[in-house]
Amino acid sequence: MYDILIAAILTIITAATPLVYAAIGEMITEKSGVLNLGVEGMILVGAVCGFAAVHFTGSATLAILAGLGAGAGLALVFAVLVLGFQASQVATGLALTIFGIGVSALLGQDLVGIAYAGLPKISIPLLSSIPLIGPLLFNHDVMVYGSFMLVFAVAWLIKNSRAGLILRAVGDSHDAAHAIGYPVIRIRYLAILFGGGMAGLAGAYLSLAYSPLWVENMSAGRGWIALALVVFATWRPWRVFIGAYLFGGLTILQLHAQALGVGVPSQVMSMLPYIATIVVLVLISRDINKIKLNSPACIGKPFHPTS
């Protein structure tokens, strides 16, 4: 029983980690007032580049960096179109997803069917031998630790740092921020690149640790779930974290239900995360004032410095 419990919680953590990365990244992008619907595409490109890097160099560090860079690179295309060319954020985000699916399939065509051992686990000495807590908290790969630190750092920075304040100012009123003299466009570029990098890391985690292999379209809608998580969390980092773990919990239902002999077809279990996303969105969006109070006021609006 003890072993099953530990195994179950570990599954939750691995399922939640990519969502934490992608949703925290998107949250920062949205805090700056930009809606990037291309998360799914950036995750896929991050996944394929991360896997390719580990396959050709053997270095896990390079692989993680490759995922980060690939996600940020694709986000740069989005940023140039949206900020430089004033293109519609919704349409460009959709284009990014369509393009990302195509490019990742093209890049990864020779990588299908190759196995990788997975990111090495780093046990923290002494702490990892504590019963229950040890295996749950102190025996993970570097990206799981990274996701904890990311949430801490982002939560603290947004609330307490000058950079966080400027980010929120730009997202809530770009005209006021511009009038005070903050470089609105440059801050948005950085926020978009950060979001892309984090989505790339989410992808790298999928292909390096979660699966670990490369299959076309392997993100299976996680990018969209991450987008919904940001709304669910009302743009707050710790709620993003909790939301990601709730969704991780759903995945485990899916994985363990059959092992426990529940007579539900696997397809129905696979529908759960998507249906849960819809339910959660409905519950949180029902209260229009709550969304209006919490969402960055300038989200989706283009910024013209002259007007």
Binding site: L37, V77, L81, F85, Q86, A87, S88, V90, A91, T92, L94, A95, L96, I98, F99, G100, I101, G102, V103, A105, L106, Q109, H178, P183, V184, I185, R186, E216, A220, G221, W224, L227, A228, V231, P265, Q267, V268, S270, M271, Y274, I275, T277, I278, L281, V282, S285, R286, I288, I291, P305, T306
Partner: protein, 363 residues
């Protein structure tokens, strides 16, 4: 020398039509570069992609077969996009249309009647509409973002189809493969060009495109949709209902996507399979934008996108190129289009650095 954007006094009408053509040109140039990088002879690859597929009568017919779902969905989506309703779950609505219409075909597989096909079409349309009604209801009643809900439902629809085909609807004589029975003749769309696969759906698609054109340019509903999309406040003042626009856009999109799905399974496929569409519902989004959200434009954009599908298949067979190249081309085209569209409201100006540029501010 600096390139800068200067706002035009008013939107350029000409650029609305020129922009997709520039975007196509840029996509072709990137294609040449892409093939060069992949180590394929560009001229040969481009020929295999864009010319070879339409050198035969069969090829032209296939162009119509592939364009049918793209135009049908693209026309409907463009109405919603004009109203600011982002239905991006057309792929799921297409799947539900195939399930509901195809379900009729499986249920009545022994019935030989001229009424089977019309009943299938009606059920396909209703199925797509029912699936689109979910995001419409959640949007109008609970303010839930229709982009996310309609997309999530796409995944659910695919799983639902898989569930049915692996279970109740599996062909009893199919050696346990996850496919349904093959539809009977009276449940299959008649071929309108002998010796090809071009079916009745093509004619119905053109009729639907014309109907939407009339709807948008000649009726009060079309006018309301355009007003709500461009100036929601003005629309509300005039007494136009935003909620009704949302419902109308999604019902139209869902219905036509459902019809497209039914046409696929009752036409070129002829049975239900786990995968019935190579992403027509998503490509139709590109078709709508490239077609300038206008039925005539969507018609031509649908043909271009259909050619990219055919080209992908042809290049895979003749040159062993991966099928994914199609997706890359489609994505690139939309990127370039969005970038070129800046020229509608802005014009490019070359600025030569003059002395004392200290005061100039570039943001």
């Amino acid at each position: 020398m600096l390139l800068s954007l200067v706002k035009r006094p008013e939107q350029s009408k000409a650029m609305v039509y020129v922009s997709p053509i520039i975007a196509l040109g840029l996509t072709l140039i990137s294609g040449i570069l892409l093939f060069q990088i992949m180590g394929v002879h560009p001229a040969q690859a481009l020929y295999a992609f864009f010319v070879d597929p339409i050198t035969t009568k069969y090829g032209w017919a296939e162009l119509g077969v592939k364009a049918t779902p793209l135009i049908l969905i693209g026309v409907a989506l463009s109405v919603g996009f004009r109203a600011g309703v982002w239905n991006i779950g057309a792929e799921g609505q297409l799947t539900l249309g195939a399930i509901c219409g195809g379900g009729i075909a499986l249920w009545l597989y022994q019935v030989d009647s001229v009424f089977v096909l019309p009943l299938m079409i009606i059920c396909g349309v209703l199925g797509g509409m029912a699936w689109a009604a979910i995001p419409a209801f959640l949007k109008t009643r609970f303010n839930a973002n229709e982009i996310l809900t309609s997309l999530m439902l796409t995944y659910v629809a695919t799983l639902l189809l898989s569930l049915l085909i692996h279970g109740a609807w599996r062909d009893p004589d199919g050696f346990n493969f996850p496919v349904s029975r093959i539809f009977s003749d009276s449940a299959t769309l008649p071929i309108i060009w002998q010796g090809t696969r071009l079916h009745l759906g093509w004619i119905l698609t053109i009729a639907a495109a014309i109907a939407v054109w009339v709807l948008m340019s000649k009726t009060i509903i079309g006018f309301q949709i355009k007003v709500i999309g461009q100036a929601p406040k003005a629309g509300r003042h005039a007494g136009f209902s935003v909620n009704r626009t949302i419902w109308f856009s999604l019902m139209l999109g869902g219905g036509m996507a459902g019809m497209a799905g039914l046409f696929e399974v009752a036409g070129p496929i002829g049975q239900l399979l786990p995968s019935i569409s190579p992403g027509y519902g998503f490509t139709a989004i590109i078709v709508a934008f490239v077609g300038r959200l206008h039925p005539v434009g969507v018609f031509f954009a649908g043909l271009v996108m259909a050619l990219s599908y055919l080209g992908g298949e042809s290049a895979q067979i003749t040159m062993n190129l991966p099928l994914a190249v199609t997706g890359v081309f489609q994505g690139l085209l939309l990127f370039f289009l969005l970038a070129c569209d800046v020229l509608i409201t802005y014009r490019l100006q070359f600025k030569f650095p003059v002395t004392s540029t200290r005061g100039s501010k570039h943001v």
